[in-house]
């Protein structure tokens, strides 16, 4: 019973850990390059969820200061401010990875990682 309440107390973090492991599984097992990028995005979302739920305060408001009430409880603003930066980083990494995939698809006309490896082996052995 005590375990159950403890799990409920950390439900966000456990969810984030589960997403992290799912993302890692997608990256490691899928040979389609697009699925790998999706896996990386899942991992990124999991870490953003983890980071933001650190700052969560149960009865807290969003950190826009109301000058009228002075006794309001606010959520911890620092993790959300940091995650803004993290999201933009995730966007630019995904944009760059997709542009590489476009070029790879034009060169090898397949998205399967192992086929690309075989084709690149053939090419490098005879040049």
């Amino acid at each position: 019973m005590e375990l159950l309440t403890s799990i409920l107390d950390h439900i966000n973090y456990i969810g984030a850990a589960a997403l992290f492991v799912i993302g890692l599984y997608t990256v490691l097992t899928h040979s389609n390059l697009l699925k790998r990028i999706i896996g990386i995005n899942i991992m990124e979302t999991s870490i953003f969820l983890f980071f933001v739920s650190i700052g969560y305060v149960s009865q807290g408001q969003s950190p826009i200061i109301q000058l009228s009430e002075t006794t309001a409880i606010y959520v911890n603003p620092v993790p959300s401010a940091l995650i803004l930066t993290g999201i933009v980083v995730a966007v630019s990494i995904t944009a760059y990875a997709l542009s590489l995939i476009i070029k790879l698809y034009k060169a090898y006309d397949t998205l399967d990682y192992f086929e690309i490896m075989e084709k690149s082996q053939e090419v490098s052995s005879n040049d």
Partner: protein, 94 residues
């Protein structure tokens, strides 16, 4: 076969993670360690030191402005990188 191995390894990682998470400070309580004097400083002094009601905007553009400079550089790099990869040899006709 290797898929099974990956599943086992990742399940082990997940169990270790959950095990250590359960001993970490709980979610949402006002007195867990991350809600310390720095956070209360931001909440109390943001309005009078930076004049902005939105404390998150105060943090990203005033207290931690150097982070956001790094951020705009990431945006600039992603453009430079994508253009260096995708721009074809001929300088686009139209």
């Amino acid at each position: 076969m290797s898929k099974l191995l990956t599943i086992l390894v990742l399940a082990g990682l997940f169990v270790i993670l959950v095990g250590s998470i359960l001993r970490m400070p709980s979610l949402g309580s006002i007195d867990n360690p991350s809600y310390n004097e720095t956070t209360t400083y931001y909440l109390e002094h943001a309005v009078e030191e930076t004049g902005s009601l939105n404390v998150i905007a105060a943090i990203i553009t005033d207290y931690r402005a150097f982070d956001t400079l790094g951020e705009t550089t990431v945006l600039f790099t992603s453009i430079a990188a994508v253009i260096s990869v995708l721009k074809s040899k001929s300088k686009g006709g139209h």
